[in-house]
Subunit: 442 residues, 2 copies
C-alpha cells in the first residue's frame, strides 16, 4: 500500500466528525471541505450541499462518457461518539498504527472503507489517462443518527445521482482471507402500541376484579403474536415470504454463523428460533417479531398496589424479501385491533419502516465484484443474507431504481461504536486493490 | 356534641404528624406526648414506646376487672403529606370548620375517627364511676408508610395487648344515615417476576430470530395467567376459595357498589370481570390477579432496535377467605416456573403478602356493634366484603388470636390522602355516640 493513502486517511480520521454532538457541527463542514479538496485534486466536480442537519458531500467524474456505466459510491463521513474515552489505548482522533491495525474512531465505520475507493481511483488515475467508467460519490454525514435528511436529498437530486449501480463498503469480510458479499437485507416495521383502560391509575384492592388492566391486556396481546415454536400468528404474515431454493440453503449452510457465535456475542443462554430453519436462515431469510421495549405502571422498588391506567410496548418486525413494510404494518394493525378486547383505547403507531432488499445476483456488477474479490483475496466471496437493514439501499432501489453491491472491507472484530475501533491495514490494502480491480473491469 | 371534643381534636390535628417526612420526626413524638397527657387525664396508664421508626402509643384502663371483657382500640396518629398545598382552601394543619365539616389533614384518616373513641370514654367517665369494660388503646405512627415496626411490636408486647376483640374505625359509612361494617378483607400476594435471556441487550437485526426475547417471553407468561373470561389459570388457584351463601349473595346484592361508581371514580371505559359474579362480589369475594408494573428494553421516544437482555413485572393477587398467602405464592411460583421456557433465567420474589380476613359475624361484639349503629343512625348497618387489605387485622388475628370490629366514621367523599381532607361533624358526633353506646353495652 502506498504510504500517502495511510497519511491521507489519518488526516481524514483526525477530524472528529461526530454527527450526534452539536459541538462537532463545524467538524462536519471541515470534513466536507477536506473531501472537496481531495476530490478537486482528482479532477472530480465536487460540491457540499447544506441540509437542515449535516451537509451531504457529492462529487462526480463523468469523463468516461455516456457509453460507459456509471457507479454511485456511497459512504458516510460521520462517526459515532468516542466515549467511554478512558477505554481507548490511543486517542480516538489521533490515529495510531499498532500491530498491523490503524486505530481511530470511524476508521472502519466508515472512513477507511470509503477511502479505499478514493485511493483506488487515485491509483487508477496515476496509471492511466482518465477513468474507465463514470463515478459519482455520495458521502453523507448523518448515518449514525438515522440519516434524517438523506431521503429528501436523494429525491431532490434524483437526476444528479442517476447511476447504474451503487457500491457500499460499510460492512465486513469474514476474515482477511474470506471476502463476503451481502445480497439481501431484512426490512423493518417498527411499531408502538399503547393501551388505555382507565382515566387514572386505580387501587388494585378497590378496583381489582372489575376493570381491565391494560398491562395484563397488553401482555395477552403480545402472547398471541407468536406461538411456542416462534411462529408469528398474524394472519397472512408469511404469505409473501420468499422461499429459499435448495441451492441457496446449501450455500447458507456453509456460512459460519453458528450457535456458539451468538452465545459469545450477546451472552445468550440458549440459541433457538423458528423450527425447520438454521441459525443463518433465521438471521437473514426469515421474518421475526420482537418486543423492543415494554412499560406500564410501577417499576420502582418494592410493591405499589395499583392497576395502571396505561401500558405500551414497542414491537418491531424484521421482514424479508417478498414482504413489504406497508402490508405487514396493515396486517399487524388489523390483527392487534381484532384481538384487543372492548373497553380498551388502542393506539398503534408506525415509528419506522423500510422494505427488505434482495439484490439481483446475476448482474454484471455482482459478477465483477466476485471476480475482483476472488482475484485479491484468493477465494470466492461468501454470500450473506443479513439480519439488519441498510435503509439507504432501499432508497436507492426505490428512488433511483438501482441495486447495491455491498462488499465490506472491515472485519468482525473492528469494534464499531466501541472504544479502540480499528481497521486492519491488510484489509485496507486489499480493499484498495479490490476497488481498483472492480472499477477497471466493469 | 360537646364543644371540648372539637377543640381537643383541633389541637391534635394541629400537629403535623407526617410519618413519611423526616422533618416531622419531632412532631410524631409531640403527638404521642399530647395523647399521653389526654389519657393521663382519663386515668389510663399511658406509655410511649420508641421504635426504630416512629413511636407507638399505648394506654390501658383495666379497672373494670378480670370478669369484664377487654377491647383493644386501634388507630394511627400519623397522616399523609399534605401536598399539593396550593389546592387546600384552609391550611392542612390549621383545622377549619366550614359547612358542617372539619377540614384538616388526617381528620378522617385517622385522628377524628379514633378520637371519637377517646371522647366516648371521656363522656362515659363523666357520667359514671369507672369504665364498664377494660380498654386498651394502640395508636401507631407508621400506618401511612406500611407500619414497618408494628408487627414486631405486637409480637413483643403480645401479653400487654391481650384482648377479647379489636375495634378499628379507619374506614367509612355509606352516608350520614347508612352505617357500614366491614366483615371481610382480601389478602395480598405481591410478586416480582424477572426474566433474563442475554448477558446484554442485542441488536434486533443481527440476533432477532435466534435468541429468546425476555419481554416477549414475559408477556407470553402473563398471557397464560388468566383466560378471556378473567378466570385465573394457575392450577389449584380457586381450590380453597370460600363460596358465598345464597343469603350472603342476596345481602351483597343490596350493596350500592355499582358499575357507574367504578366508572366515575377511576374513569374506567368499561366495568367487567369474572363471569357469574356481581361487581360487589368481584370486589370483595373473588380473588384477582393484576400486573402492577411491567418493564423491559427501550421506553424512550422513537425506535430503538434492541432485544432487551431482561424484562420484569410486578404481579399481585388479591386473595379471599379460604386462600392463604403462602399457598397462593407457592402455586403461582410453581406455575410460572412450569410455563417459562428453557434458556430463561427466572426470578420470582414475594415482595409483600398477607392473608385475607373474615370476621365471625356471630360474635357478641359484632352484635353489639350492629345494635349501637342501629340505635344512633336509625338503620341497620350494611355489611361489606372489602377489596383491599388492612394488614394489622391479620396481625391481630394471627398473633393475638382476635377478630376486629371494623366500623367506619368517615364518609366516601372525605378526600383521604387528597387536599381538603374533611370529616363531617355529624359523623364525628354520631361516631362518639356509637362508640359510647357500644362500650356501655358490651
Amino acid at each position: 500500500m502506498q504510504k500517502k493513502h495511510l497519511n491521507n486517511l489519518i488526516e481524514l480520521l483526525s477530524i472528529p466528525s461526530v454527527s450526534a454532538q452539536a459541538e462537532h457541527k463545524e467538524d462536519m463542514v471541515k470534513t466536507c471541505l477536506w473531501l472537496k479538496k481531495k476530490f478537486d485534486q482528482l479532477g472530480f466536480a465536487a460540491q457540499i450541499y447544506p441540509t437542515k442537519c449535516h451537509p451531504v458531500f457529492f462529487a462526480q467524474n463523468l469523463s468516461a462518457g455516456t457509453t460507459k456505466p456509471t457507479v454511485l459510491i456511497y459512504g458516510h463521513y460521520d462517526v459515532q461518539a468516542p466515549d467511554p474515552l478512558d477505554e481507548w489505548v490511543s486517542e480516538p482522533f489521533k490515529p495510531d498504527v499498532r500491530k498491523g491495525n490503524l486505530y481511530a474512531r470511524g476508521v472502519a465505520d466508515d472512513k477507511g472503507q470509503f477511502y479505499a475507493w478514493i485511493a483506488a481511483i487515485e491509483e487508477i488515475l496515476e496509471e492511466q489517462k482518465g477513468l474507465p467508467i463514470n463515478i459519482k460519490f455520495l458521502i453523507e454525514g448523518e448515518e449514525e443518527i438515522g440519516s434524517p435528511t438523506l431521503d429528501p436529498f436523494i429525491k431532490k437530486y434524483k437526476k444528479m445521482l442517476k447511476a447504474d449501480v451503487c457500491i457500499i463498503s460499510d460492512s465486513h469480510a469474514l476474515s482477511e482471507s474470506q471476502p463476503l458479499v451481502t445480497y439481501g437485507l431484512r426490512g423493518l416495521v417498527y411499531t408502538e402500541v399503547t393501551l388505555q383502560t382507565l382515566a387514572r391509575d386505580a387501587h388494585s384492592g378497590s378496583y381489582g376484579g372489575n376493570v381491565i388492566n391494560p398491562a395484563n391486556c397488553l401482555a395477552e396481546i403480545i402472547g398471541q403474536l407468536k406461538d411456542k415454536n416462534h411462529k408469528i400468528l398474524i394472519p397472512g404474515f408469511y404469505d409473501d415470504v420468499r422461499h429459499l431454493s435448495k441451492a441457496e440453503r446449501k450455500e447458507l449452510a456453509k456460512f459460519p454463523f453458528r450457535t456458539k457465535q451468538v452465545k459469545d456475542e450477546v451472552g445468550a443462554f440458549v440459541v433457538t428460533g423458528e423450527k425447520g430453519f438454521s441459525v443463518a436462515e433465521r438471521n437473514g431469510a426469515r421474518p421475526t417479531l420482537d418486543v423492543n421495549g415494554i412499560w406500564g405502571g410501577y417499576a420502582g422498588e418494592g410493591p405499589k398496589t395499583i392497576i395502571p391506567a396505561k401500558a405500551g410496548a414497542k414491537i418491531s418486525m424484521r421482514i424479508v424479501p417478498g414482504q413489504t413494510d406497508t402490508e405487514i404494518f396493515a396486517k399487524f394493525s388489523k390483527y392487534v385491533k381484532k384481538i384487543t378486547p372492548k373497553g380498551v383505547k388502542l393506539t398503534i403507531k408506525n415509528l419506522s419502516s423500510g422494505n427488505p432488499i434482495l439484490v439481483d445476483m446475476t448482474s454484471s456488477y455482482q459478477k465483477a465484484a466476485a471476480q475482483a474479490l476472488k482475484k485479491i483475496f484468493g477465494k470466492n466471496p461468501m454470500y450473506e443474507l443479513a439480519g439488519g437493514s441498510i435503509p439507504v439501499t432501499c432508497t436507492f432501489k426505490e428512488i433511483l431504481g438501482i441495486d447495491s453491491v455491498m462488499m465490506g472491507y472491515g472485519l468482525p472484530d473492528d469494534g464499531l461504536h466501541s472504544p479502540n475501533e480499528k481497521m486492519s491495514l491488510t484489509m485496507l490494502e486489499k480493499g484498495i486493490a479490490t476497488s481498483k480491480e472492480f472499477l477497471k473491469n466493469l
